[in-house]
Symmetry: C2
Subunit: 389 residues, 2 copies
């Protein structure tokens, strides 16, 4: 961070400060940052006038939370050897672009594992806290198999399936990422303190919330969207009829990620959630690490693609894909908004958008750009080949 | 049978005799009977010339098996209170029409349960002989739930899943049908002798093979097509990677029946076959009797149909449906062949075919008639309404 330009430093400081005032439960702040830029919002919040995209009541409640020392969180993080990532950083996971205006303001990270490529070769594994011995055994076994094949295992650090997944990956000396609903320096649950220490040594602990933040009920639900977005696929290992894992599953599905479920005994209440998922269209039944990789590899970049399954967008050069992923499917976004989501310069984005329109991937729309309707189908392999190097 | 016309009696006797000489393993006899009529084939077999549709070698081997007393099997059956059904009988299961030229020559039946409506409200339940306690528990439980809701449980009488399914249905005082690969008076496996006695008391034991026939390896595979065809849906409860239940599953799938599988622990070798099925397109995951009924009810006549799922052919009057089910999808069949498969008079069939062609369900083709290509899609609800009473 020492070699950063003054602008980047200011942007990073603004996002760090905003990630503190966005809490508890002020999604309007995230949205406003994505749409209008962190510096604009931070200046407005610190001032006395209105803040773009926020109601007066929301602004008042946010101002009440203004930190005494906006830089304190960053300094606290640096003391524990962590880092605060923002869009545009090399390490920023491009897979989060799918969240569009629900994208995190920034990510507080502790641990050596890089996050950039999580969208390519990682799997999210989630499930019940009150798991059975069967569920924990299967989660650990699948995670061991995935990590042994160099796939990163992403989970939420909770008791039960999450913990078993992290442990399975660590046992294979693989990489595992815990996405927490509290500060990366907070060990919650307490019984996982040593597990988090081990993850911080070889993998990474990640959070949207600044150091010291306590886990709160709503934060778990908010956090689940990040778990679902980071990885190309989510596996539900064991889940009761009302398990929180099903909220992550719902996010994965809405974000068009590969959603998988592991079957179990039909006599087990803890498998009811998995079987309910398996009865839905498009949810894949998986029983081994190889099957998980087969499912996720179908859309992944690095895994071998079965013949015929190549999407035209898979053939795009990285910069174009990055921009395409930042273009929303429904409401149009301006070039500047897309540049902020993609973490790229507006001039680069403008040129990329031109090529994406020519290829049938993006359509000009009132106020900006959006994904071409049914762009997967419309954009032919021939169009993609326009961009071949 | 005492009030039957002389023609019907002759037809029945010819089919009974042919069902003996068709064995072992002479599918050409079945095919020839379906295509040319039982009396023609029986006369030809008893004569000295050629038999239509059969090679000279096949004819020679069939003639070597000619029974000394062609009526002996029928008399033996009558002594044990059984009956021999042939196409055209009121009780003949119309669901078998889907087998076209693989349809049985006749069915030897012992027990009070009627077979006619099996295509409407029955479920076939199959699985491994070497089942686990889990598998047997689940099979019995599902069969109990199905029978308690007045669904007939069809299975193969074997040890393991089959036996548990029959027992579960009997425990609910429901109807269960055992389709055997030996004579209906033969108890195989021997350990199921008392189970077969109970099934013969309240349900039915059914076989293509005459009384006294021993179970033989190839007969099990041949028999599986009948289990799959009789019911609108087949559930595989527990199956290893190479279980014979998978041959029944394959038949169900090829016959366009609803194919369902029950999940189990991924750690169990006996669930591998079920999970492999669940990873295939279109195979439904079921965990309760209600879910099975929901799946099968979608195509059944008596079960409530979810809105929007009504097929035009479901709206056809029974006689037209019966003829339509007898019309092959691929190779054309003559009016007479269709009449034999449907078990109806050629004059009735001729009139029905006219209406089915007008409705877009059937197409005239070289040498006869066949199903209209994509007839499900092409035949509109409006066309079906032509036939409303």
């Amino acid at each position: 961070m020492t070699t950063e330009s003054t602008d980047r430093l200011a942007e990073r400081a603004a996002r760090a400060a905003l990630s503190r005032v966005a809490e508890p439960a002020e999604p309007a702040v995230i949205r406003s940052v994505v749409l209008h830029g962190a510096l604009t919002v931070w200046e407005a919040v610190r001032g006395e006038g209105s803040v773009p995209g926020m109601t007066a009541a929301a602004v008042a409640s946010v101002r009440a939370r203004l930190p005494h020392d906006p830089g304190a969180d960053l300094e606290a993080l640096e003391r524990v050897g962590g880092r605060f990532l923002i869009p545009g950083d090399d390490e920023w996971p491009s897979s989060l672009a799918v969240l569009a205006e629900r994208s995190p303001i920034g990510l507080w990270v502790a641990g050596p594992a890089g996050l950039r490529d999580l969208g390519h070769q990682s799997v999210a594994m989630v499930g019940s806290r009150a798991a059975t011995a069967y569920g924990e055994h299967v989660a650990a076994d699948l995670a061991y198999g995935l990590a042994g094949r160099d796939w990163v295992v992403v989970s939420g650090g909770a008791y039960g399936i999450d913990g078993a997944a992290h442990r399975g990956a660590l046992a294979a000396e693989g990489t595992t990422i815990a996405v927490l609903a509290c500060g990366v320096d907070v060990s919650y649950p307490r019984g996982h303190e040593r597990l988090f220490d081990r993850i911080r040594e070889s993998g990474a602990v990640v959070s949207e919330w600044p150091p010291g933040c306590a886990p709160m009920r709503h934060r778990f639900l908010t956090r689940n969207r990040v778990i679902a977005a980071l990885s190309p696929g989510t596996v539900v290992v064991e889940a009761g009829a009302r398990s929180g894992a099903r909220s992550t599953a719902r996010e994965a599905r809405q974000l068009d990620r590969v959603l998988m479920a592991v079957p179990g005994p039909v006599t087990s209440a803890l498998s009811v959630g998995c079987h309910t998922l398996l009865r839905q269209e498009g949810v894949r039944c998986v029983t081994t690490a190889a099957e998980i990789i087969e499912e996720v590899g179908r859309i992944g970049d690095l895994a071998p693609l079965p013949r015929g399954a190549v999407e035209p967008r898979d053939a795009l050069p990285p910069a174009l894909r990055r921009v395409l992923e930042a273009v929303p499917l429904r409401a149009p976004a301006t070039t500047d908004a897309i540049a902020r989501i993609a973490g790229m310069a507006p001039s680069e984005v403008r040129s990329a958008l031109g090529q994406l329109v020519a290829g049938g991937f993006v359509t000009p729309a009132a106020g900006g750009w959006r994904g071409a309707p049914k762009r997967k189908a419309a954009a032919t392999a021939e169009a993609a080949s326009l961009f071949d190097d």
